[in-house]
């Protein structure tokens, strides 16, 4: 049986064997926050958490990360690397190349940061689905997770992954033992490559901004429907921006805009998922709010009714 408190003490004991300083990649999500809390107990001030603003973050994400870590009493360094990430992704349309490019860009930032702290280790909140889906040997690559399959072959840091054998539900159980709680709609998985893999096809600042706004609406409306007791809270819910445009009519004028796909799923470990049966009234509210408030950009909203398998939860 998995006993979270035993896991905590074993993880801290093995982290204590590592000498010198470590950089830890944090996103504010549950995996890296739990990894940071564990590592902090072993490393203390020899631990240097780094949060990278990739430019692909959700609305209000940086502020939320600051809140999470100030509650834990751990200091973090925020690095704005968005220019570097957007430049690296110019002209990239293939989702696998996207993910690998993002993984490599992350590592280059951490290498730079490790130098300034004179750190020899990079700690990551990698969990089981990350390395499983990244594939290797006879295991097929479903998608390269930025922190595993996206790592360059050579980099100058020793990698430490204390949560490697855990799934999300187990990480959440460990978080509870450590007193870490996520607030509201932030309590859901969010991939490291962020909105870059929710903007289908080439990533531009304009498209990321549309996706960010639509995503915020989806999250607000679904969370508020949950608070009103209309629906159980899905395991994960978000907006993806499709690459194709379609025709519409707005106030007797022809429109030609983007399509937003709403995705919401039920799962516990993310290795299988079923689409959430969100009532039409809730979907209609989301659709109207997106198409009214974003009328210059989006004139169509669709709901994704596919399970995993055959789909994956994210679109890329």
């Amino acid at each position: 049986m998995f006993v979270p408190s035993n896991f905590v003490s074993q993880a801290i004991t093995s982290l204590r064997e590592l000498k010198g300083d470590a950089v830890i990649a944090v996103s504010g999500g549950i995996d890296s926050t739990v990894a940071a809390a564990l590592a902090y107990k072993a490393f203390g001030t020899r631990l240097h958490p780094v949060f990278v603003d990739t430019g692909f973050l959700r609305k209000g994400e940086t502020e939320q990360v600051e809140r999470v870590f100030s509650r834990l009493g751990i200091e973090i360094k925020i690095v704005d690397a968005s220019a570097q990430f957007f430049t690296a992704l110019e002209g990239v349309t293939d989702p696998e190349i996207k993910r690998k490019t993002i993984g490599e860009s992350f590592i280059r930032v951490f290498e730079r940061e490790a130098k300034t702290f004179d750190a020899g280790y990079l700690i990551q909140g990698t969990i089981a689905p990350d390395w499983i889906e990244s594939g290797a040997g006879i295991r097929d690559t479903i998608k390269s997770h930025h922190n595993v399959g996206g790592l360059p072959e050579k980099f100058g840091l020793k990698l430490v992954e204390p949560l490697r054998d855990l799934y999300k539900d187990e990480v959440r159980a460990v978080a509870k033992v450590l007193g870490i709680e996520q607030e509201g709609a932030w309590k859901q998985p969010f991939p490291g490559p962020g909105l870059a893999i929710r903007v289908i096809d080439e990533v531009t600042r304009e498209k990321v901004e549309i996706c960010r706004e639509a995503n915020a609406i989806v999250c607000e409306e679904i969370y508020s429907a949950f608070e009103k007791g209309e629906i159980p809270l899905p395991w994960q819910y978000f907006a993806a921006l499709l690459s194709s445009k379609s025709t519409g009519v707005q106030g007797d004028v022809r429109a030609y805009g983007y399509t937003v796909a709403i995705r919401a799923v039920e799962a516990s470990d993310g290795m299988t998922a079923s689409y959430s049966q969100i009532p039409h009234a809730v979907l209609a509210r989301i659709s109207r709010r997106i198409t009214n408030s974003m009328k210059d950009k989006v004139n169509r909203v669709v709901y994704d009714v596919t399970d995993k398998p055959p789909a994956t939860i994210e679109w890329e």
């Binding site: 998995f2 499983i132 006879i138 295991r139 054998d165 799934y167 516990s268 470990d269 399970d307 055959p310």
Partner: protein, 191 residues
């Protein structure tokens, strides 16, 4: 109780490991190239699924199929094959595996034909999750334990040996009674 998981590269190999661990079984994931001699003190084996197309002969290549046939035929103790692992067992005993007429991905309604061993004390009909391109078309020496609308052999057991298989995935969270099925296999290993 020691049950090892033979890794055929499934997305859910580690889920089999997790479920067995949660059932307080001593378990380990091992490569499908592991020699049988190294498994002398193991009480049972689970052959995972994988991306190999058994129905197209891909598992015949030893760098892909490993020692699965040896485990299926010579281990001498309980073996459970899942998905590709199940298909390899069927082939090892003279059955045929072919591309499925109707591949199944995601939820499948399972109907139990014979509530023996694996399905002991479970309901007659429940939802399981599958993800397969190939299927077992015939399996001489095996008794069919369950089927679905589109697939006649979804689970079987050998008529005299403790060899079992399921095409669906009892190890994933979305399969109803999944843990109970694996627990039933653990019970078989304890006999």
């Amino acid at each position: 109780m020691k049950i090892f998981v033979i890794d055929n590269g499934s997305q859910w190999t580690h889920r089999i490991w997790r479920t067995l661990r949660d059932l307080d079984v001593e378990t380990q994931i091992i490569a499908n190239s592991t020699p049988l001699e190294k498994l002398k003190d193991v009480d049972g084996l689970v052959l995972s699924g994988g991306s190999m197309r058994v129905g197209k002969g891909e598992s015949d290549a030893c760098e892909v199929g490993g020692n699965n046939i040896v485990y299926a035929k010579e281990f001498g103790k309980p073996v459970l094959g899942i998905c590709a692992g199940f298909q390899i067992i069927a082939q090892a005993y003279g059955g045929t595996v072919k591309p499925a007429k109707t591949p199944e991905f995601g939820a499948v309604e399972l109907e139990i034909d014979f509530a023996d061993d694996l399905f002991a004390s479970l309901s007659k009909r429940f939802t399981v999750w599958a993800s397969h391109n190939d299927e077992v078309a015939s399996a001489p020496h095996f008794i069919t334990l369950a089927h679905s609308k589109d697939c006649a052999i979804h689970a079987f057991k050998h008529n005299s040996l403790p060899i079992y298989g399921t095409l669906f995935h009892p190890e994933v969270q979305h399969t109803q009674n999944g843990e109970a099925i694996l627990e039933n296999f653990v019970r078989v290993c304890k006999r």
